[in-house]
């Protein structure tokens, strides 16, 4: 499988804290990659380097390279806005804007200069269909996004991310605040989306990683311990630390 993200000898420091240590990783295109590991292992930090969300953290220092489609995202001539258009993100808590459903989805495309109502209508419909929310909201697109349930709000956030046609979608524990049914809907959605997008997810739910992802990466203390096809990692992990963690005998 071709890789879309290449991480090479990546070190990340928060002041003196060495949060990521010499990380080397390839992330395959149009597949789901899950990052797992205990709290503080660096998995969310790494996710956030992929769209430069760590830039805003004081005292952060990054060495090594993160290449997306062959381009180093930390090069000076990279526009972060362009990068984040290419690399969308969904967070743990659904965070719709206090606007209508329609305006939430149209927000990004408008920001990137699309004005035509017809074009925006098309983008909103396509994005909501892709995020499996269209059938539930098509008759009241003008209603406030905040009137939706938590699971619907999260799918709206996915639609909002998809509206700018990214290549990559980052999901940072995107289902951990949702009930099991909403979680299942999003997991199914992820399976559909991987036909068109590369998905990288951080999850605390190992069984979710096992259910949803094609590749799983296990992190410990800022290092990649093991990166493997999911079915291999969950059946015959090569490293005993991976086995201990996924078997719940860790600590």
């Amino acid at each position: 499988m071709a890789s879309i993200i290449e991480i090479d000898q990546l070190d990340l420091y928060y002041d003196t804290f060495h949060a990521l240590k010499k990380v080397n990783l390839s992330i395959p295109e149009k597949a789901v990659t899950a990052f797992i590991g205990p709290s503080g292992c660096g998995k969310s930090t790494l996710l956030r380097t992929l769209n430069r969300m760590n830039d805003m953290v004081n005292g952060v220092r990054i060495e090594g390279s993160v290449k997306i489609s062959g381009k180093d995202v930390y090069r000076e001539d990279i526009y972060v806005e362009e990068l984040r258009k290419q690399v969308g993100m969904v967070f743990q808590q659904p965070n719709p804007f206090p606007k209508s459903i329609y305006d939430n989805v149209a927000y990004g495309p408008r920001l990137h200069g699309i004005r035509s109502k017809e074009e925006l209508d098309g983008i909103v419909e396509r994005s909501l269909k892709q995020s499996a929310l269209w059938e539930e909201v098509k008759d009241f697109l003008k209603r406030s996004a905040l009137s939706l349930s938590g699971g619907q709000q999260q799918r709206l956030c996915i639609a909002r991310a998809l509206a700018v046609q990214p290549d990559i979608l980052l999901m940072d524990e995107a289902t951990s605040a949702l009930d099991p049914i909403s979680t299942l809907k999003i997991e199914e959605l992820v399976q559909d989306l991987k036909n068109e997008y590369t998905i990288v997810m951080v999850t605390h739910n190992m069984h979710q990683a096992a259910r949803v992802s094609d590749q799983t990466v296990f992190f410990l203390n800022g290092e990649v311990v093991e990166s493997e096809q999911t079915e291999v990692l969950f059946s015959t992990p090569a490293d005993s630390r991976t086995e201990d963690y996924i078997s719940g005998r860790f600590g």
Binding site: S235, T236, E243, S247
Partner: protein, 219 residues
Amino acid sequence: MIRRTGFDQQLEELKNLLKNMGSHMVEALDLAVSSLQNMDADKARRVVEQDARLNAMEEQIMEIGSRLIVTQQPVAKDLRRILVAFRIASDLERMGDLARDVAKVTIRLEGETLIKPLVDIPRMTEIVRGMVTESIESYLKENTDLAYKMAGDDDQVDHLYSVILQDLFKYISTAPEGANQAMLLVMVGRYIERIADHATNIGESTVYLVTGSRPDLNQ
């Protein structure tokens, strides 16, 4: 290190149940073959009656294992421990059935005398008995070397079975009046040979448990 005490205890219980099943199975094999050697139908009936114990233990293993899968969502080696317990339990249950089949031959021959003293059947039984014991030991100690060594003994069993087959067919051609008993003794040889195949399966389960790959030791 976080421990999953309750889970680990239940996994240990599965192991102990299989150990007990193994002991019962070996006991059934011994009783069945000695019932035939001594033409002791009462002893044979005991084997038939006691087969229910093995069936019940197999069910108990299935029940505990299923419950652990549902409640503990095991992965990797933990999952293999349970899958392997299922497979070994069903091998041992089948081995018990085969020992019972040997005992049933004794019951069918009740009142007759043996056409000839048994020589190769007890020899074969001795080897198979060793294989069963070693297969269980290889599982309990997770010893793959022992599993492979044990599986190698199956060649001797197959050889003895073909000797038994030839001898008894020769006997039938010279003394057709004993054909009925000779055929039943051939079947006894076949039952015991099948027990060895199941022991080999247990060796395979051991290798799968330890390595995660499925070898074929039945070659």
